[in-house]
């Protein structure tokens, strides 16, 4: 359905896309992942020509859309795009946003546009907000309206540019649910996202983008569980593993908790489990171990999520004299830590500076 040939996009300071060649088939649901600045958004924005390729060709349904003579507007009407910042039309209410394009561009009658629009609003669960204005809606609601707006044009492919990145964690789920629904209906989609669990669940194909192009292209199982190429493997590992080192009692506690939370969200861990991880860290490391540490010390925390067991393994290792936190007098903190973890094990170790090791398993 879409064929991309030697696509290159060059900017004065960077060339995010050097040489992209790929074919996208009807019905594909493609997750596009990768580190920042690797051209993920650029790729889909080239497909609907919001960015103009420096060189190369893109064929959509047999038409060459990189050709100057191509009727861009007609091509775009068959493609939909959902933006990170929603981009609803602020001077129109919700139902008008959805009716606008079909009426103006497809020449649908007002009645027809209204009926179809309301139907779409119902599928995304926002029929009662039809007469509200965008600034009266929450982020999640805005994005769902945006999705309904693109659906109103009956596109053949929908491009999603980080659809949930600007959303509060509590609203990410409702939008992902709508997108999953569309995938189930067989719509062709390309989704740029940082939400790894979502990326894995929804797609039949994953692009890992790096080095100016599609570095690796495979099924979700291949990319996430069995990456073939080096950089892919490193990326996957990084998002699956959390690591942080603390060297002073005045470390950024709040920052630490925030990164731990981000790691948890990326891996799709439940909020409860995230709290448990944080509790284990706070009670064992901050409340029990740190008061015992004197002078210079190092404390390293790693957390790894295993999809098979659906559990997180948190390892805490620290330097200094041997000390088993499980034998601490601080019953209160111990109880809380034990409540949070399925199992906590302590052992002495000989790992560089680290002399103590705690392993906790959390469901």
């Amino acid at each position: 359905m879409i064929r991309i040939s030697h696509l290159k996009k060059e900017y004065p300071n960077a060339t995010p896309l050097k040489d992209v060649n790929v074919e996208i088939n009807k019905g594909d649901v493609i997750s596009i992942i990768g580190p920042s600045g690797t051209g993920k958004s650029t790729l889909i924005r080239c497909i609907n020509r919001l960015e103009t390729p420096t060189s190369g060709e893109i064929w959509v349904d047999g038409k060459c859309i990189t050709d100057k003579k191509c009727d861009l507007n007609k091509v775009r009407q068959k493609m939909g795009m959902v933006f990170q910042s929603f981009n609803l039309f602020n001077h129109m209410n919700v139902i008008e946003n959805i009716m606008a394009a079909p009426m103006d561009l497809l020449k649908k009658s007002k009645q027809q546009a209204y009926d179809d629009g309301m139907k779409l609003l119902r599928t995304v669960g926002l029929a009662d907000k039809a007469f509200n204005y965008p600034d009266e809606l929450s982020g999640g609601q805005k994005q769902r309206v945006a999705i309904a707006r693109t659906l109103a044009m009956e596109p053949e492919i929908i491009l999603f540019d980080e659809p949930t990145s600007a959303l509060d964690p509590t609203m990410v789920g409702e939008v992902q649910a709508v997108i999953k629904d569309l995938a189930a209906k067989g719509l062709t989609m390309m989704i740029v996202t940082h939400e790894m669990r979502f990326a894995k669940e929804i797609a039949n194909r994953v692009f890992y983008m790096d080095e100016g192009g599609i570095y690796e292209d495979g099924t979700p199982e291949q990319i996430f569980d069995n990456p073939q190429k080096e950089k892919t493997a490193r990326f996957i590992k990084r998002i699956k593993v959390f690591e942080s080192t603390v060297m002073s009692k005045d470390f950024d506690f709040i920052g630490f908790n925030t990164s731990l939370e981000e790691f948890g969200r990326r891996s799709g861990i439940s909020q409860k489990a995230i709290y448990r991880m944080q509790s284990v860290f706070e009670e064992l490391c901050v409340q029990i171990v740190m008061p015992e540490l004197t002078g210079d010390f190092v404390l390293n925390v790693t957390a790894e999520y295993s999809q098979e067991n659906d559990s997180v393994c948190v390892q805490m290792k620290f330097s200094g004299k041997h000390f088993n936190p499980m034998e601490s007098d601080n019953i209160l903190s111990l109880r809380l830590a034990q409540n949070a973890a399925d199992s906590i094990e302590y052992s002495q170790c000989d790992d560089g500076e680290y002399t103590n090791l705690i392993t906790a398993k959390i469901k």
Binding site: Q278, E282, Q287, N330, L332, L336
Partner: protein, 98 residues
Amino acid sequence: MNINKITNGNELAIALEGRLDTATAPRLEAELNQSIGGVEKLVFDFASLEYLSSAGLRVLLSAQKIMNKQGKMTVKNVNETIMEIFEVTGFCDVLTIE
């Protein structure tokens, strides 16, 4: 964490929003030190409390001790996770939970 205080004569209602942990507990402690004098009824509303650690529990304990002499303290709108914490630590016997 947001601390919302409402004073009504000698009654003090405190609603907590967010996390009560090592970083935020000192703030609650300071607030209580400032306002607890002369209070006969202290009510904590935990409806928007997301996370509670040992640091928070300690502040609650000292407040309970003070109120035991001055009047009464209750904790209300406790969610499942927080309730579990109270049970596991035995705080459900120390605090009056509604």
